[in-house]
């Protein structure tokens, strides 16, 4: 397919906003249904406001909240800047430059994604705290107190660990954005005499903005909802207050109220970001050839190789080796035939969740593409909010919704003269999959939406005038062009589902233990070392789809 029109977004015809004013069509209904699915558990969380506990609130306000706000803001700013800098520059280096080892780093840099953040946190503290091997060795060499060492259990420690596990979101989204940027645009910039840095800054970066924003907001939503990592550091954030209200003060209501504030904040941020992006379009010619890479030669190339090796060691290799050493210690008491079952459940749930969630996100993506009105912006934003809540709070919301659905079914059948009892939806695989879809919709939506935004409206338009059916347009135009985005979405959901803990714990059918459940069993009583075996199994399982994704997306380019 050869494109001759210049890549000027302004020339791309955009469908009129609200072509059918005041009328609902199938996209409204589809995105509305998905928003409803997510909204029900969220409303249950919001219903905590019906019973405010003023005494507990005044205690929290007087003693904790101001410090927690400050901590949370520090964390969000630190992680936000960190993942953006790291994710974008790494993506640029591996997609648009060439240096020794580039094709290896291309996929290796995604690997930290497979390490659950709280596991990374524990490893970092085990290695770098006062009693860890690093400081112990330094004390042996220099004597106690004769050297300076940064305190790992500190703000910078949490930020560093979070950046190292979360940058892959930005990296992967920016990477597929850079990969689909056409030759002509970049070449035009190069013929204007721009060097690699300027092409990056003036052309590639602005065009990749939706992808970078999507990746960063995923990382920040996870940061805001995180409890495990900050708890390992004993670093108090807003979620600390949520869990304190629930587990300590036994007030699920107050916990829900706090969580709903968090949700409101994310919702407003998302709407604001979408509003500022609404008019801007970032489309690009597809398949106009592979732009040449900037070849980094000599010391510059090797400098990059060394820095990336260092980064990879810190973010993946060293923690992984430490986990392997611990796993060796415990493999005799820990490894048994049950691991087959754990693996099977983990993979099956992960794959099903990846497929279903990506399909739902695809529907949302199309809804927003064809219906650029306020209603759709709203429904899409609601449908992607599940990721912003702390996992346990969302899991309880979903569980309550399903239990009430069960009770409703029972009352219906009783009315019909039948006698049913027990659980129908609750505690089923179906319920668990619903929970994953609600939780990870945002994760799948990010890459799919940015993938869609790079497909010109004129392509399917042209196909339609040539007589192609909607199904043909989907299978011949959209799906091939969306492949990197779709695969990224599925991979992210797969890995996230495999790591997911609160919903899996609370809603799994009897006997359906997964690797994450096994990690929980060990870590909740402080046996971190014994959790190493399920943790590295999780990493290795996560490795396969990562490699698959890279091979698939590279074939396309």
């Amino acid at each position: 397919m050869h494109e001759t029109t210049p890549d000027n977004p302004a020339l791309t015809p955009e469908p009129r906003a609200s072509r059918l004013p005041g009328r609902l069509n199938k996209w409204h209904i589809a995105s509305g249904a998905l928003a409803l699915l997510v909204a029900i558990p969220l409303l249950i969380v919001f219903s905590g406001w019906l019973q405010p506990d003023t005494e507990l609130w005044s205690h929290l306000v007087e003693t904790l909240l101001s410090q927690l706000f400050i901590n949370t803001i520090k964390l969000v700013i630190g992680v936000g800047i960190g993942v953006m800098l790291l994710g974008v520059s790494l993506a640029w280096l591996t997609t648009r430059c060439d240096f020794p080892g580039r094709s290896l780093f291309d996929w290796m840099l995604m690997l930290p994604l497979a390490i659950p953040a709280y596991v990374m946190a524990f490893v970092a503290i085990a290695l770098l705290d006062f009693s860890g091997p690093v400081q112990t060795t330094l004390r042996d060499w220099f004597g106690p107190g004769n050297f300076w060492f940064p305190e790992i259990r500190s703000t910078w420690g949490v930020i560093t660990v979070m950046v190292l596990v979360l940058y892959p979101y930005v990296y992967m989204l920016a990477r597929s954005a850079f990969l689909t940027q056409g030759r002509s645009t970049l070449e035009a910039a190069q013929t204007l005499g721009y060097g690699p840095l300027e092409v990056f800054r003036r052309v590639a970066l602005p065009m990749a903005r939706p992808a970078i924003v999507a990746g960063t907001s995923l990382a920040l939503m996870e940061t805001l909802a995180d409890f495990g990592t900050v708890a390992t550091f004993n670093y108090d954030t807003f979620t600390t207050a949520i869990y304190k209200a629930w587990f300590g003060f036994f007030s699920l209501q107050t916990a829900s109220q706090l969580a709903s504030l968090l949700l409101l904040f994310v919702f407003v941020s998302l709407i604001t970001e979408r509003a500022t992006r609404r008019r801007a379009e970032y489309q690009d010619t597809m398949r106009s050839g592979k732009p040449p890479r900037f070849i980094l030669q000599g010391w510059r190339g090797w400098g990059i190789t060394v820095s990336l090796s260092l980064l990879f060691s810190i973010a993946f290799l060293i923690p992984f080796i430490q986990l392997c050493l611990w796993a060796l210690d415990s493999i005799r008491e820990e490894f048994d035939a049950r691991y087959l079952g754990l693996l099977y459940h983990t993979l099956l749930l992960g794959l099903l969740a990846a497929l279903l969630t990506s399909a739902c996100a695809l529907v949302l993506g199309f809804a927003r593409r064809y219906q650029r009105d306020r209603l759709t912006t709203l429904t899409v934003s609601i449908a992607t909010l599940g990721y912003a809540l702390p996992g346990s709070v969302l899991a309880v919301g979903i569980m309550i919704a399903l239990s009430q659905a069960d009770n409703f079914i029972h009352s219906l059948t009783a009315y019909a003269g039948l006698n049913t009892s027990g659980q129908i939806l609750g505690g089923s695989v179906f319920a668990l999959l619903i929970a994953y879809i609600i939780r990870f919709m945002a994760v799948a939506h990010g890459p799919i939406e940015t993938g869609l935004s790079r497909i010109r409206y004129s392509l399917p338009e042209a196909a339609r005038t040539l007589g192609a059916t909607p199904r043909q347009i989907l299978s011949r135009i959209y799906l091939p062009l969306l492949r990197p985005g779709l695969l990224t979405a599925m991979l992210l959901v797969l890995v996230d589902t495999m790591k997911e803990m609160p919903a899996t714990l609370l809603m799994r059918p009897f006997g359906w233990d997964t690797l994450a459940v096994r990690i929980y069993e060990m870590t909740s009583e402080g046996e971190w070392e014994r959790a190493a075996l399920p943790a590295i199994t999780l990493v290795l399982v996560g490795l396969l789809p990562v490699i698959l994704l890279v091979r698939k997306t590279l074939q396309d380019h």
Binding site: L56, I125, F130, Y243, F250, D406, L506, R508, G526
Partner: protein, 330 residues
């Protein structure tokens, strides 16, 4: 071969009979600490036991949401506060059983018989044998004294074990005195509170601080892994309140479908036969006074334990957390 075949046929005939009786347990006690006992029970009686594990608060929320449809017959947790809360919210039903009354001392079960302790966890003082003489130590309260300035390590106040400890202190001394003790602890800290007991003990061993407060089974685990670690346990408050203890325990749910079978399981878990292993699996102490602790656990010495009813830990938990928040104990 023949034997296996006969066994299989026997099993096939027996299964449908037993299959009618399946007890469902929601457990905050970890799988590897309960499964061995459930397996023994199933082998002994043929009663099947299925379970899910999670933290106590989500499990409680689930039982409440499921209401009359809950499959749960028994709720098992690792802290008296959580059991107390489950009883408060009305999800547990009272059990009248002479066996439970006889096997479990009164202060380790609910005064209204809605939950029962199954193992005892002692939270005591741990110290560096290099830098501390046992005669320097006396009580939890004494750790607030100026001589421990910069020498104390603590786990986070967010852990329920510390909340229970402080709650029981409030029960003994009232809020004002407890508050002074906690403020003293905070000003004596050598470093920010740790997220778990093991890390805290490792810090003492490495020389970052000299004393701390720990659940004994964490000490046992560390000692097993590193027999030469220069740490020892001290039993505080032997002249007054005694060592702070908490329980892991269980109760029968309000809407249990297999109430009788679940009660029988609970009774068995409190029996001499089960108690030894139930406690030994996690190096805890049995609740049943007729059962001796595991040899390794016994080697740490005997001690006088606090005999206030552990229900108080639940009742005063919120007050304890507020007090620690105000004292700046993170």
């Amino acid at each position: 071969m023949k034997k296996t075949l006969i066994a299989l046929i026997g099993l096939a005939i027996a299964l449908p009979v037993y299959a009618t009786e399946t007890i469902t347990v929601y457990s905050a006690r970890k799988e590897h600490l309960i499964k061995p006992l459930f397996d023994i029970y199933t082998e002994k009686t043929g009663v099947q036991i299925r379970y899910i594990t999670d933290k106590a608060a989500p499990l409680l929320a689930r039982i409440k949401a499921e209401g009359a449809n809950t499959p749960a017959d028994m709720l098992m947790t690792v802290d008296a506060g959580n059991l107390w809360q489950a009883a408060e919210e009305g999800v547990l039903s009272p059990v009248t059983s002479d066996i439970l009354q006889n096997n479990i001392p009164a202060h380790l079960r609910d005064p209204d018989n809605r939950w029962f302790g199954l193992s005892i966890r002692a939270r005591t003082i741990v110290y560096s044998t290099d830098r501390v003489q046992p005669n320097e130590l006396s009580s939890y309260e004494d750790l607030a004294a100026p001589k421990w300035k910069g020498r104390l390590c603590l786990r986070t106040s967010k852990k329920v074990y510390n909340q229970s400890l402080v709650a029981m202190m409030i029960a003994r001394h009232g809020e004002a005195k407890t508050s002074q003790v906690i403020e003293g602890w905070v000003s004596n800290l050598a470093t920010a509170p740790f997220s778990n007991d093991t890390k805290m003990m490792q810090a003492i061993a490495a020389g970052q601080c000299d004393v701390g407060i720990v659940n004994t089974y964490y000490f046992g685990r560390l000692k097993k892994k590193d027999p030469n670690v220069k740490l020892a346990l001290f039993w505080p408050n032997q002249d007054d309140a005694g060592v702070h203890i908490n329980i892991s325990g269980a109760g029968i749910t309000q809407h249990a479908k297999n109430r009788d079978a679940a009660v029988r399981l609970l009774e068995w878990l409190s029996s001499a036969e089960a108690q030894q292993q139930f406690a030994a699996l996690n190096m805890e102490y049995p609740v049943n006074p007729g059962v001796k602790p595991d040899a390794l656990v016994a080697s740490w010495g005997e001690f006088k334990a606090d005999d206030l009813n552990v229900a108080l830990a639940g009742k005063l938990q919120a007050q304890a957390i507020k007090l620690m928040d105000r004292a700046g104990y993170r």
